[in-house]
């Protein structure tokens, strides 16, 4: 990607010269989105569609693309309601621009639920305007007109006209009131619900420079940034003068920042201390860096140790919880009178995001303004952080959104973006900052590890009567570390009459944050494994036991808004009927209870509700005498509402979620010693490879009557307990600690 070619300006100029028109829509609903229910601001203009005289339609993709398929998906919603042919649609990636667009972020599986109405309305408004222009031009009532393939048709006179021909007549036309628009019946969809290949696919197979790492700009230098392995460490002294003399090195300088003193490290703490080295090529800069000798003042976090954390957690579990998060009924009393009591401690480690494209950002600082090319999942947050750190206003920060090689939540924080901006300002030349894999692995915002001590009782009928969890996590006082909280409505709250959730925390010196399906990616393993233990204690089939549990919902007042502690993505309550439907269907599709498998093979099930999505998954595993696990087949059933927008992408995402979950389960663990992360590359923090992938991952979406919601995250959590429960069924061994490799179970 060359920055000299400004595609946006090019399109605008050519469109105007060729007689095309840029349609602008007032979209008050769009602007009201995501503003916490505040009154909608005065209507502003949002531009999404350009129609050229030859009827080629250019639609703006407004959100960041990191592999979730949103670049296609949102324009598909617009194009279908606009009633144009997808083959005549060209997509254009928006820059970050909050005067035109709302919700330009990628997180929490929110793109579908937040945009389903507004994007279709934008398309329908466009269609209504073309119909209105044709009606006026032919002097016939709009009600006699229809549209098809980018044309307005009048059946009785056999007239037709293309949108491209009509476009000039739309200039100055008022935008229709969105509430008056009639949206298509799903039976009329031509684009929504049909598989469409990723728009960038051709560019990808040609190896075109479309990723953040590929951006170049004239005169730029390549930068590396050496930080202390201990978060917040400061440079005391270094051999920087020698480094400056090395071949291909143009500049090197120390960046000093005030220390982060918050007891709990904030969400995106920003620019750290370190040494920037700028070279002719990245290799020059990185080679020089290897000769760098730095004396660090490591600060108070240098004593952090995973071994000590585990010891402290064991002490906490044996002791009295620090605080209570919820008490329904009398869990203590019900445990005493239960027919059977099961008690177990589960644990899960910190893990890293490690998207395959390492963190990078390209920046030009000139005349008090900065221009950035980034694959941030929160470009708006990044813009603010850059402005605050550089002491300029957000008006003077221009953000281009570039395709990202994976996100998984890592690019929700913008440390690499503010580093690039600051280094470019200090250096006075355009800069491309690129992290090494080691930088990425040791300076992540890790999924926080934790421990859960569970006690539950079943009565003589095999019904759960008490559930007690001592949740041991990281934080200080009443504040959990980022993404390290458990909400007071965590399942099976509301399904068990006596439910108690207590918590204890200890401080943590490394940064933590949201990883794909935050908290759910660990909690589903714990809760759905423990439910399996209870099913076996009750002598019941794991599927039947779950269905009975879902039948035991206790009517309650609605949970408080914003509760749930899922990194800001609090879902509304679980609808038991929707979950029962996916559990029943996945049991049916997998032949649960109907197939006899050979010795050493077994099925296991798990379900989980997160990010408004209902998923149940069954895994068939085969375990040999050496505890080598072959996952032979996986069945996934998901209910994410009435419509799958792009079936090909939706299948791909859920298959990937299963593979991702298996990686987390078997191969991933981040540990800390002396305040530093021990694992530095994929050899120590691995992922599933092709030969280990289940040969078949069957994905089925159960269409319900609810408005569509997202897929990226909720498909992941159930695979971990499904596999764990299958391993138990196959071997009788219950593993309660991730990763399974530590208990001797490895992937075949």
């Amino acid at each position: 990607m060359k920055t000299q070619l400004n595609r946006r300006s090019f399109l605008k100029v050519s469109a105007a010269a060729g007689g095309g028109v840029l349609l602008s829509f007032e979209a008050p609903e769009l602007l009201a989105q995501g503003r916490g229910g505040a009154p909608a601001p005065p209507p502003q203009v949002s531009a999404f569609i350009t129609v050229a005289p030859n009827n080629i339609v250019t639609i703006v993709s407004k959100n960041p693309e990191v592999g979730q398929g949103v670049r296609n998906m949102l324009p598909m919603m617009i194009a279908d309601e606009l009633d144009v042919d997808w083959k005549n649609v060209r997509l254009e990636q928006a820059d970050f621009d909050d005067t035109k667009y709302v919700g330009q972020s990628a997180g929490g599986s929110t793109a579908t639920p937040n945009n389903w109405n507004p994007m279709r309305q934008v398309g329908a408004a466009g269609r209504a305007m073309f119909v209105s222009a044709a009606a006026k031009s032919w002097n016939v009532p709009a009600s006699e007109l229809t549209t098809s393939s980018g044309k307005v048709l009048h059946a009785s006179s056999n007239k037709s006209i293309t949108y491209g021909e009509l476009a000039p007549k739309l200039v100055g036309m008022p935008t229709p009131d969105f509430s008056t628009l009639k949206l298509k019946d799903p039976s009329e969809y031509k684009i929504i619900g049909t598989s469409h290949q990723a728009y960038d696919l051709h560019q990808i197979v040609l190896g075109k420079p479309i990723f953040g790492i590929d951006v170049t700009t004239p005169g730029m230098l390549y930068a590396v940034f050496e930080k202390c392995g201990v978060f917040g460490g400061k440079v005391v002294s270094s051999n920087i003068e020698d480094i400056k003399k090395m071949p291909g090195i143009k500049q090197a300088f120390v960046i000093e920042r005030p220390p982060v003193t918050d007891p709990v490290i904030p969400r995106d703490p920003g620019l750290e201390n370190g040494i920037a080295i700028l070279g002719e090529t990245w290799w020059h800069a990185q080679s020089a860096r290897k000769k760098l000798v730095v004396k660090w003042e490591e600060g108070p976090r240098a004593t952090d140790s995973s071994t000590a954390h585990a010891a402290k957690a064991a002490e906490m579990i044996a002791g009295t919880p620090q605080r209570s998060l919820r008490n329904d009924g009398d869990a203590e009393g019900a445990l005493k009178s239960a027919a059977k009591v099961v008690e177990a401690t589960y644990s899960y480690p910190h893990i890293a995001h490690a998207p395959l494209e390492p963190q990078n950002c390209t920046a030009i600082f000139k005349d008090g303004k900065v221009e950035l090319w980034t694959n941030s999942q929160t470009p708006g947050g990044g813009r603010q952080l850059v402005a605050d750190t550089l002491g300029i206003t957000t008006k003077d920060v221009k953000v281009h959104m570039v395709r990202g090689g994976g996100g998984f939540g890592r690019r929700l924080t913008n440390d690499y973006m503010v580093e690039a901006a600051y280094i470019a300002k200090q250096a006075g030349v355009p800069v491309k900052l690129l992290w090494s894999r080691e930088d990425d692995m040791t300076h992540d915002y890790y999924r926080p590890g934790g421990w859960q001590h569970l006690q539950a009782g079943v009565d003589a009928n095999g019904k759960i009567v008490a559930w007690k969890n001592h949740f041991v996590s990281f934080g200080v006082g009443d504040t959990f570390a980022q993404s390290a909280a458990m909400g007071p409505t965590e399942f099976p709250q509301r399904f068990v009459p006596n439910y108690s959730l207590q918590a204890s925390v200890q401080p943590l010196g490394i940064r933590t944050g949201a990883l794909r399906a935050p908290s759910s990616n660990a909690f589903a393993f714990v809760i759905q494994s423990f439910i399996d233990e209870l099913a076996h204690a009750a002598g019941k089939d794991p599927v039947a036991f779950r269905l009975e549990l879902l039948d035991s919902a206790i009517p309650q007042p609605a949970p408080p808004a914003g509760g749930g502690g899922r990194g800001g993505f609090a879902p509304p309550g679980l609808n038991p009927d929707r979950m029962k439907s996916v559990v029943k269907l996945v049991a049916e599709r997998s032949g649960w209870g109907k197939t006899t498998l050979p010795k050493g093979s077994a099925l296991g099930i798990g379900f989980h509700f997160s990010h408004q999505g209902y998923f149940a998954e069954v895994a068939q595993v085969k375990v040999d005498a050496a505890n080598k696990v072959r996952i032979e087949k996986v069945w996934v059933v998901g209910d994410v509402g009435s419509q799958i927008i792009n079936p090909s992408g939706a299948e791909n995402l859920s298959q990937g979620a299963v593979v991702d979950g298996i990686s987390e389960m078997f191969s991933q663990e981040i540990t800390v010693e002396k305040g530093r992360v021990v694992q530095t590359n994929y050899d120590k923090h691995g992922m599933v490879r092709l030969a280990q992938t289940p040969p078949e991952i069957d994905i089925h979406y159960l269409k319900s009557t609810f408005s569509p919601t997202g897929i990226g995250e909720p498909a992941l959590p159930p695979i971990l307990p499904a596999v764990a429960n299958a391993i138990f069924s196959a071997t009788g061994k219950r593993v309660r600690s991730l990763p399974f490799s530590k208990s001797g179970f490895t992937l075949a």
Binding site: V66, G67, Q68, A198, L201, H202, I204, V205, L206, G207, K208, P209, I210, F211, I213, D214, T216, Y222, P247, G248, T281, W282, W283, S287, A354, P355, L356, E357, P358, G404, G405, G406, G407, F408, L434, R437, E438, S648, G649, N652, L653, Q655, G656, V658, V659, D660, S663, N681, Y682, D683, M687, V688, R689, L690, A691, T693, P694, P695, E696, I697
Partner: protein
Amino acid sequence: MAFKLNVNGQTRTVDVPGDMPLLWVLRDVLDLKGTKYGCGVGQCAACTVHLNGKAIYACLTPVSSVGTQAVTTLEGLSADGTHPVQIAWQDIDVPQCGYCQAGQMMSAAALLAKTPKPTDKDIDAAMNRNLCRCGTYVRIRKAVHKAAELTTSASARTVQTASKE
């Protein structure tokens, strides 16, 4: 130091340190961005290119060791996306983020050149070095089989045409 390289059928002269890995010569000196950096230690294979037809890690190959061997990158498979692997990858809609796919396609192309009709076992062995963080392996496997079909049917067509003439 000057090196004369044969990249995608063209002679390219570069003036770089001899220990500079081929990956960075391709990306930062020759501006061929198709080949990707993922780990730098031969764990992810995102940097896979062909050296005389053999799939290698460009991140671990010093430019001084390349000599006159033919270097082929994704850009060199075909300029218009008509190599069977490129066609299959599009037909199956393999990628999610797409970042690892250059390496995946180069491993697949090297496999098919040697083994035109690979079994699942052959695919496991040849493609196991390449990580996909998005987990598109089910489709990768399907696409390799599809590319094999395209390759054999294309050569069958060539044979037919030749016999007619």
